[in-house]
Symmetry: C2
Subunit: 250 residues, 2 copies
DNA sequence: CCATCGCTTCGCGGGGCGCCGAAGCGTCCC
DNA sequence: GGGACGCTTCGGCGCCCCGCGAAGCGATGG
């Protein structure tokens, strides 16, 4: 009936991340942008032929989505869950590999970074704590929904909650009783959850678009956190303090 | 300086989970008990020689701790973070592998199971929601601490909070300002956090010891969730409802 | 229409490693 | 003390798969 030599789901999925070139590609895609096969080949340090094979495997294994456009193939992470798994596994790996110099790649990344399409780091967990602590987000099965006041507060920061509600729904539960516009995602540097989901995506894109956060350049060549590091601008700090009561001076 | 062919931390750690035999061993260890090398060889379906090599690799890679006792070698997961990574990756793998029959191994495991040494499943997330929602746990940097009332409530359920405070501290932050007796761990079946950490360990062992929860037998031979499934007993349901206001009829 | 570009497929070579059987070593029990 | 047991180490076999270059294919652009 079942093949005793079959890898099993856990091993099969882990194997997709267990190759150095593939891991570098996944790390680059954690920046949230869709990258072309050629860009990923470059960041992985392999030829286009090798990269093509890797991308096909990962897409086939459900980690990536590929979108052909002209003669380019744009690749992005398949889902929030993939991003969460990479985030968690990356945190474990970092702690195992580098107890002596714990945060080689970064104090900046600990303060603010992207986790696929949403905010992570101290700002991410602070945002989670503020929105849930103030009662602007309330728990619903599978995640969080926003209250009326929460919607008003967020709308004032330029976040489009209708767009968040239109986020692709993953049908993991038979019947989803209520709107779930945000979920939790474990933050590996802070060890507490930050917000993920449609709302979190709108927040990240909106605040970056307004210039409240800006992307930081890569540090060196093999920077595993390239494309992910963010910095809060002075205007952003002011706006978040005044609009949400979010003080990030700590 | 740095070897360009070096795997990188993420790939190296993922590789430790990417072998079918190793994955089966890790799944078995998610039941929380320390198992001998021989037991793990059996569950993995390999000879003792092969298992020995696998265990040495995983111990060397920081996933496992080994404790020699007489002519047995007891093996357990190295840390909460390892358990969290396996939990997250396992959830992703299950969702990727089995959209047609989503929960082959079970409704029982979704209701209540062990995640290394703490409770997971619906009971785990309900407990998290209740303790934090009632204000019995309050957020501190890196996790949660209990209030005086929370301590009293938990002590009434037989949970020893002094033992929880003595939990091995992982020094990930330079200075930990306050006691942190619980942390969040993402639940892969419910997609919301449940409680981990010393407090959660005391809760799981205490409630199982009191007969409020009991371990369920394995289903078949290659049961990936063997040793993890739990069931709430009638006494347990009563005690949790009366003692903590935790209603699990849903 | 042809050159270029991005990407894929194919075939090949090589290294890593998963597996086992046999042998060795320490522990436990009679 | 001798035998059984649990585990490790060693040697060897075999497969998987990673990497590349070369060739093919569709899209683009002059």
């Amino acid at each position: 009936m079942t093949d005793p030599t079959a890898p099993g789901p856990l091993a099969a999925t882990a194997a997709l991340m267990a190759d150095p070139a593939r891991a570098r590609m996944l790390a680059a895609l954690m920046g949230g942008e869709a990258l072309t096969a050629g860009e990923l080949a470059r960041v992985a340090g392999v030829t286009a032929a090798t990269a093509s094979g890797h991308l096909a495997r990962m897409a086939d294994g459900g980690l990536l989505l590929v979108h052909a456009q002209g003669r380019h193939r744009y690749v992005r992470l398949a889902s929030e869950e993939v991003a969460a798994a990479i985030e968690t596994l990356g945190g474990l790996a970092a702690r195992i590999a580098a107890p002596p110099r714990p945060w080689k790649h970064g104090e900046a990344a600990r303060a603010a970074r992207l986790c696929w399409n949403h905010l992570a780091g101290r700002i991410g967990v602070a945002l989670h704590a503020r929105l849930t602590g103030a009662g602007w987000l309330v728990p619903v099965p599978g995640g969080w929904d926003a209250t009326t006041e929460g919607r008003a507060r967020l709308a004032a920061t330029g976040v489009d909650l209708d767009a968040a509600a239109r986020a692709p729904r993953v049908a993991t539960h038979r019947c989803v009783a209520r709107a779930c516009i945000a979920r939790d995602c474990m933050d590996w540097s802070e060890r507490r959850p930050h917000l993920a989901g449609g709302l979190a995506r709108e927040i990240a894109t909106g605040w970056i678009g307004r210039g409240w956060l800006r992307r930081l350049p890569a540090e060196g060549d093999g920077d595993i956190l390239a494309r992910r590091r963010l910095a809060l601008t002075p205007e952003g700090a002011r706006a978040l303090r005044d609009g949400l009561g979010l003080d990030l001076s700590a």
